[in-house]
């Protein structure tokens, strides 16, 4: 066998090995996708199937005896609507406050000519490694008279250090110094420069911050759990917790069912429905804004 032929043969073997690799890889990743998707898919089909069939385990691939009874019951409950309303208020207000404060502080901290910059950074970064803890923080919020007010849902988490760092890295790397120099020559004040020049150039980072903060606000339940007692202020997540985990269905959902088994079965599909109601807005929105999230993670990664 000539050397040439030998080489060709070797290549063929290699490419066959690669083909096997590719096939296994494809199958493996597909299985991973299924493992991620199936639970979500099951929740969807279970939420629209006959509760008795879900309960005895015969629904697993396709919905059976489609019914929207669960959703009807969920949406007949004023608590869910109230929770939605509160969550939207907290998310919109909270995100607005968080994004503005973060942008302002991050921009100031990105300026090389800010005297005392390293001191401020130290002050902020230290809080990533040490904190007073739950109780002292709770006592501060209590002393400020914020317990049981909407402010408790917004002010105590007004800035996330991580997002601040992400925004600062963005400003540092994408607002060239020459721009500032040019602005100064034209007699532009810092405020004007920030509002008129920096912000319009920072749409990607604004999008990243809005999304990070908004998702955090939408999904959070912990602050509500510790700071709120008044049920009329509860965000959606806390109401979900009561339904999903503590089995507290409200009277409106169950009023017409007197038999315990029926209540239990309907209770189950209500849970599936509630999961959909809570998770759907984000899951639908997310593929369209995915690239911003990825970008945000990566800007942060530079410093990490």
């Amino acid at each position: 066998m000539s050397k040439q032929k030998k080489n060709n043969r070797a290549k063929e073997i290699k490419s066959r090995e690669d083909k096997i690799f590719d096939t296994i890889n494809f199958i493996f990743l597909t299985l991973i996708c299924l493992a991620v998707l199936y639970p979500l898919y099951f929740v969807v089909i279970a939420s629209i199937s006959n509760p008795d069939l879900v309960y005895n385990g015969s629904v697993w691939l396709l919905p059976k005896e489609i019914t929207f009874e669960g959703y009807k019951r969920i949406f007949s409950d004023p608590k869910i609507w109230l929770g939605y309303k509160n969550t939207i208020i907290y998310t919109v207000l909270g995100t607005a406050v968080q994004v503005s404060l973060t942008l302002m502080a991050a921009y100031a901290l990105s300026r090389k000519d800010l005297y005392g910059k390293s001191f401020f950074m130290l002050l902020i970064l230290f809080t990533m490694f040490f904190s007073g803890g739950l109780i002292p923080t709770y006592l501060v919020v209590k002393q400020l008279g914020m317990l049981n007010t909407i402010w408790a849902m917004i002010i105590p988490k007004a800035i996330a250090v991580w997002n601040l760092i992400v925004a600062r890295s963005f400003f540092e790397s994408s607002i060239p110094n020459e721009l500032l120099e040019a602005g100064k020559i034209d007699g532009c004040s810092n405020t004007k420069f920030f509002l008129k020049i920096v912000l319009p150039l920072s749409k990607p980072i604004i999008a990243v911050l809005v999304l990070f903060y908004a998702v955090g606000n939408w999904n959070s339940y912990f602050d509500a759990l510790i700071y709120l007692n008044d049920e009329s202020l509860y965000p959606l997540q806390l109401i979900l917790r009561n339904i999903l985990i503590q089995n507290q269905m409200s009277v409106q959902m169950m009023s017409d069912l007197d038999n315990l088994a029926a209540q239990q079965h309907v209770g189950e599909i209500i849970k599936y429905g509630v999961i959909i109601v809570a998770a759907l807005p984000l899951l639908i929105l997310y593929p369209f804004v995915q690239k911003y999230f990825v970008k945000g993670v990566l800007i942060g990664g530079v410093k990490g």
Binding site: F26, V36, W60, K112, Y115, L144, I175, E181, R241, L298
Partner: protein, 323 residues
């Protein structure tokens, strides 16, 4: 790391010179000139002082018997009494074991998974399919902890999906939610399901930074895909992996309250009670502010020491730490 969003390309010399002259100006003038920047920074600084540094001062109550009417300063000192009580309580070792056990297992299982998946995804030839897989596996990250816990409860309930599968194959149903030994697997498994995809992002970015020429050269030398993963890709993501490993080891004691609290049932308590949930219960439900602060402080100090040790070790070993 290579995956920085493109930095402003060439910082012109002239600006550097100007900056230098700026530095030579008197500091006061510099501060006055930029007074607006300090105003920008002010709300953030107030926030950090009020909600981060005042609580750090408030942690003094861990050494006192806090009486709300007397305030933090007025309450009587009791020294280390609360700490001693915690160390001597029968729950102490259980809490340490549960908290550390949970985070160590989470690290062992959760850490390699995104690396493996990122390596495989990176070898995917069909770009469209690759993007589809990415979209799918990132998605669970956006599900709230409450919904995730709710899903665990419905899937693993006595008559839930998992148990109907088990009984279908002739097994007998398991009460997952009330069995202490199942708490850890459920906690960690659901975490892997939710966060593995998201954690791939950083690794995929690092892999995208590997120049295609290295792969080509390796192919010419007869390396197959598997060998290229071993000898090109893995070395390429090593630095990233090490930094992330340091970060997670440093956060071992920083395990989250939220999911553990939701997954607790009266029956799985022996395995599910961790330090943060204990602080919450003792502190806010039983209003033992001082004692709970002491427990929280203990945890925070251990965590700080851990981060410090890990960082020092990292500096010695790899020459680069976190600070």
């Amino acid at each position: 790391m290579k995956f920085a969003i493109k930095a402003s390309n060439n910082p012109l010399k002239s600006s550097e010179i100007r900056l230098e002259t700026l530095n030579k100006k008197s500091r006061i003038k510099q501060i006055l000139e930029n007074y607006e920047l300090y105003l920008f920074l002010l709300p953030a600084i107030i926030y950090f002082i009020v909600f981060q540094y005042i609580p750090m001062y408030g942690v003094l109550i861990a050494f006192k018997d806090y009486v709300p009417s007397l305030g933090i300063l007025g309450s009587p000192w009791v020294g280390l009494q609360h700490f001693v009580r915690f160390f001597e309580s029968y729950q102490f070792w259980t809490l340490i074991k549960n908290s550390l056990g949970l985070s160590i297992f989470q690290l062992i299982i959760g850490f390699p998974m995104p690396i493996i998946i990122a390596l495989l995804l990176n070898q995917m030839i069909h770009q469209k399919y690759k993007r589809f897989v990415q979209t799918v596996i990132y998605a669970p990250h956006f599900i709230s902890i409450v919904v995730l816990a709710g899903m665990i409860f419905v899937f693993f309930s006595d008559k839930g999906l998992i148990n109907s599968v088990i009984t279908l194959f002739g097994g007998s149903a398991i009460s997952f939610m009330s069995e202490p030994s199942w708490f850890k697997p459920l906690y960690i498994g659901s975490g892997v399901w939710q966060e593995t995809g998201w954690a791939c992002i950083v690794y995929l970015a690092a892999l995208a930074g590997v120049s295609p020429e290295i792969h080509e050269a390796a192919t010419v030398d007869g390396a197959n895909k598997w060998q290229r993963i071993l000898h090109v890709d893995i070395p390429a993501i090593m630095p990233t992996a090490i930094i992330l490993l340091i970060l997670s080891v440093g956060n071992l004691m920083n395990i989250g309250f939220e999911k553990a609290f939701l997954l607790q049932t009266p029956l799985n308590q022996p395995a599910a009670e961790i330090i943060p949930t204990y602080v919450y219960k003792v502190g806010l439900q039983q209003s033992e502010y001082s004692f709970a602060s002491a427990v929280g402080l203990f945890n925070a100090v251990i965590n700080l020491v851990l981060i410090w040790i890990v960082n020092r070790t990292a500096k010695k070993v790899s020459g680069s730490g976190l600070w």
